[in-house]
Symmetry: C2
Subunit: 714 residues, 2 copies
Amino acid sequence: MILSALLTSVGINLGLCFLFFALYSILRKQPGNIKVYSPRLFGERKTQQEDDFNLERLLPSPGWVKRAWQPSEDELLSITGLDAAVFMRMFIFCLRVFTFASIIGIFVLLPINFLGNQLTDGFSNLPTKSLDSFSISNVDDGSNRLWIHFCAAYIFTGVVCYLLYYEYNYISLKRTAYFYSSKPQPHQFTILVRGIPTSSESSLSQVVENFFTEYHPSTYLSHAVVRQTSKIRSLMNDAGKLYRRLGHLKSTNSQQRFKRDGFLGLFGRKVDLVDHYEKKLEDIEDNVRLEQSSLAGEEVPAAFVSFKSRFGAAIALHIQQGINPTEWVTEKAPEPKDVYWPFFSASFIKRWIFKIAVVVAYIALTILFLIPVVLVQGLTHLDQLETWLPFLKGVLSLTFISDLITGYLPSLILLLFLSVVPPIMVVFSSIQGYISHSQIEKSACIKLLWFTVWNIFFANVLSGSALSMVNIFLEPKKIPSLLGEAVPAQASFFIAYVVTSGWTSLSSELFRLIPLLYSFMRSLFAGKDGVDDFEIPSIRYHSEIPRVLFFELLGVTYFFLAPLILPFLLVYYCLGYIIYRNQFLNVYAPKFETGGKFWPIVHDSTIFSLVLMHIIAIGIFGLKKLPLASGLIIPLPVLTLIFNEYCRKRFLPIFKAYPTECLIKKDRGDQNDPTMTEFLEKLPTAYQDPALMPVQYSRSDDGRSSPLLGAAEV
Amino acid sequence: MILSALLTSVGINLGLCFLFFALYSILRKQPGNIKVYSPRLFGERKTQQEDDFNLERLLPSPGWVKRAWQPSEDELLSITGLDAAVFMRMFIFCLRVFTFASIIGIFVLLPINFLGNQLTDGFSNLPTKSLDSFSISNVDDGSNRLWIHFCAAYIFTGVVCYLLYYEYNYISLKRTAYFYSSKPQPHQFTILVRGIPTSSESSLSQVVENFFTEYHPSTYLSHAVVRQTSKIRSLMNDAGKLYRRLGHLKSTNSQQRFKRDGFLGLFGRKVDLVDHYEKKLEDIEDNVRLEQSSLAGEEVPAAFVSFKSRFGAAIALHIQQGINPTEWVTEKAPEPKDVYWPFFSASFIKRWIFKIAVVVAYIALTILFLIPVVLVQGLTHLDQLETWLPFLKGVLSLTFISDLITGYLPSLILLLFLSVVPPIMVVFSSIQGYISHSQIEKSACIKLLWFTVWNIFFANVLSGSALSMVNIFLEPKKIPSLLGEAVPAQASFFIAYVVTSGWTSLSSELFRLIPLLYSFMRSLFAGKDGVDDFEIPSIRYHSEIPRVLFFELLGVTYFFLAPLILPFLLVYYCLGYIIYRNQFLNVYAPKFETGGKFWPIVHDSTIFSLVLMHIIAIGIFGLKKLPLASGLIIPLPVLTLIFNEYCRKRFLPIFKAYPTECLIKKDRGDQNDPTMTEFLEKLPTAYQDPALMPVQYSRSDDGRSSPLLGAAEV
């Protein structure tokens, strides 16, 4: 790619971004869009709908930027919870890393690269200059200037590691502080027990009761056995649909309410559809009640067991309970609203086989996905495209079109393909047997991250078929030189990728096109009665975090290869910082609170990026005929991995469970709390499957209290 | 190697074995050797020295075999402890595996191999027939008979996995039963806490006291801070030496007791050496006492913390204590006599760096050790040896000599080299920071096992220089075909290795040559007073287990390649079973009791052997032009690894810690035990560094109660 193509792409995207920002700042002021752009505030009734029209509403204004910027981190934490604060720390961390990287990259490395003569096209005609002349490829083979790159790699690694340590420490302190300041919550007192041994004499509930009164007599409080509710769930789903149709019918005019009950609704006597549906709804509800009461036999060998203190729960959690380690398996209970009810798979073996199946499916998907990636890759090699599709020759000869195609189209297509993947990963993770939404998202996040790294980074860099890519890992010795050759060659693609995919994703995040369209359609067709299915959205960490981290990987690996990427990344992180802050304040409400458990993913991914960078450095110094530098880089990944190992020992345990010190301090603090007795009384009913809650659709007075909806949409 | 060379080797070794056995059965009956051959019984005063001479004493008799055979497993368990019982289970397991393997190997695979024509030398002249004609190399390429080998691999793997599961289950049940039947022991109630945060205001002891009374008020009992005692230890060592010399002087005649105190003991006045030494000893003892009392400042940030119940100790053990995971690090306390006092390295970081250093040193040793191995390897290739050392040509042309050299010498030299390694591994493991002898032995055992596999199996098979061996692992794709080619070629070497190294090691184990010589020298020079330094030996698991497991690896990998190895292995395991039973009953006393924690090593090593066998099978079927079989083997290692993963989940936790169920049952059982109060009173003093115990050498009445000796030899 040449400089002008890059500039075209930057121009288009910058324009688009500003367009979106302007549109956003206008649209958000329209009272009709309040549910799209400030659903959080609307849900919390913190905003009032002003319907009086004024001119200011039609002018773009940057007020939202200021409002997003203003709150301090502690304010943000109290408003949005720790997970969101950690998500924002990721941006701060990346900003710090790439500010430092940009200073070194732009002011030191870029001039050195540009002054090299390896690609020999001199200073003439800057716009048609290949982007490669700004990369390390342009430095002369064996030149001593490469030692500057060598030093840069060492210094950069040191700085990143320092920042990693600092952040890990900072967030682990925040996590502890958050725990200390939290109110008593059911999940702090509860564990999930799986693999309860079945007995022919007594019910599961009795077995659990006996076991815990026997072995935890002083701390055991209560338990709730999980039940098989898939049948009720589907019945309730039907009820929910019917209820919504009823609501719709009632609100429309009475013409549509009547229908003949005969063939195709043409013959027979006229019936009031409302009556008809209400009767049907009642039938279903009776069915649900019947199912709910007859469920004793369908107990799943899993139970939520609550304790009188946090430390009591921790004791049962951390120590193996039964002699057989596959029975009485304990794990932390998620928050009640975070529980993923549909999948409490029965046995230890079954869950375990599912896990293996998911691994296989994941690998298969990852490999099959290479096909579209390879096709997209073709677009950046125009000449290849022309040989494949000769009829395009005429169109492609237009510079603008070819610039557009090489600079913009490939990453857009990739983006479309990629948007299908996150839901698939969530499905995988939920099959795997996680029992909370947060665990599913975390697992999907990790899956998607590696998927992205493999399918975007490696597939583009190595641009081979799936088989040849797998082959690489069977010959690890060749990896450095292979990467050293291939990675710099793809610099221009990834610079364009940052500009198109990165910037576009941010502006679409802000603009929320699909919710906007949806809300527009609703208001057009359904009138104004949509209160019942309004839900505050929550951020999908599993698709956002891998994207942000992938750009970090690009930045780290290309830092000394093609420093030209750094300013674009810096723009990305600056915009991202403001936009996500705005979204957290206005749009998203947390669906769960993991207490910052997403941070270790960020840490690990950064370490991976660093080591990848080192491997590439080994390869490139070898190719550039500087074997000494190539050899001297080797201690760097080793040191980085040792550093990582230290961090795992030093910080990771804090993210897995709270220590005795915290738990007991917190428990003691509660002893003087008068609300504790009330809390403990409510605890036994905290973990109830929504499918087993009483049904109240028909004959409800106003139809607005709909306890079923949450359950039906799980 | 040809058949006659193998038979020579078998003949020599069989003769040697029977010679050793006969000598053993005579020597063990001599009263003077009772401390060599029945030190355990002697130590427990279970045997009386009969000095009356009779003829029966001079005749070899097989009575010891019967006596070793007789005790049932439960009797053996009660006499020798669980570790020894588990060690014997290893033999039973191997016997079962190789009985099955021999039936298939000898009656099915061997005839098929022998009937092949690949190596085309027909039936003529059996003695000069190469051993290769009994191996899979002799089967014709692409022959359908190879499918029988294929089936054998599947069936064998299935049987071994079943046996593995059975044993793991059996031993885990034994382990639980052993725990239930054990008396209250200090280490069940105690944990070791490391990384105690230092405070400028209060002493370490106070910090520990405060922390545990704060967070474990109901279960905390007492603690003992570990102290820096290396100085005292060396002083006590000196005292011990002096004391022994004194004892020696006192027992000899009075002529040697006097010596002039001037130049070279020739001039000056005569002094009583006994007086002189006693004065010196008193000085040292005063010094020791001074050091002991002034030690308050040299506390190490580690402490043994005891609790009132086993469950209380488990709670503190399993839950992270402090907010900083590198502080208040808990681990299980070893038995008091099992503690390895000298090395309580100070900080978390320091231990951690030592660990890395040990890994590096271990890798270096493993690689450097290749040099002698490669030299030994040369001996099996006589032609190569002749080109190197031409003057040997005359000697080597004698068939007997050349048979001896190819069949016997190489493995003997290897054996000598290998005998140096176990102590080095123990040193490595003790530097690594383990705090008990049992952990050090376990770690050394694992180290030695991989060392053996690498340096004997891989080095011999691949017979290349260190560098080319490392290269193999950088090209994993070629591994199967490389192994498939190289492993069968070394069959004859390993058959000879089993016969020489295996059988020899067993008879030398029984014969105890070095203790015998030592005892002989003592009785020759020192008279009969040696009671004070008599110590019952303990088996060195770290050198015995890897040896036994290595033969298992040979058996498993060569099972379908060269089934001729199997009968020799069967003989090895039969002899081993009887000999080690005899040794456990008569010679060894357990130094510690891990409760069968060595078994997981056996399990893992067997799984490794199976997978290695599968990889070789993939290679060999490929080489034998049966690619379909080669491909169809691939699921086998995958299934084996999944099976292993299941076993890890199902059984391994039981070997790491006891579950709540066991702990609480045991604690409740103790509540009615009247001796418990006494036990708990003694508990605070159970973990005291022997170096800090009161010194009582000089002026002790009979000189036989020597509390220092144990400490001085630690």
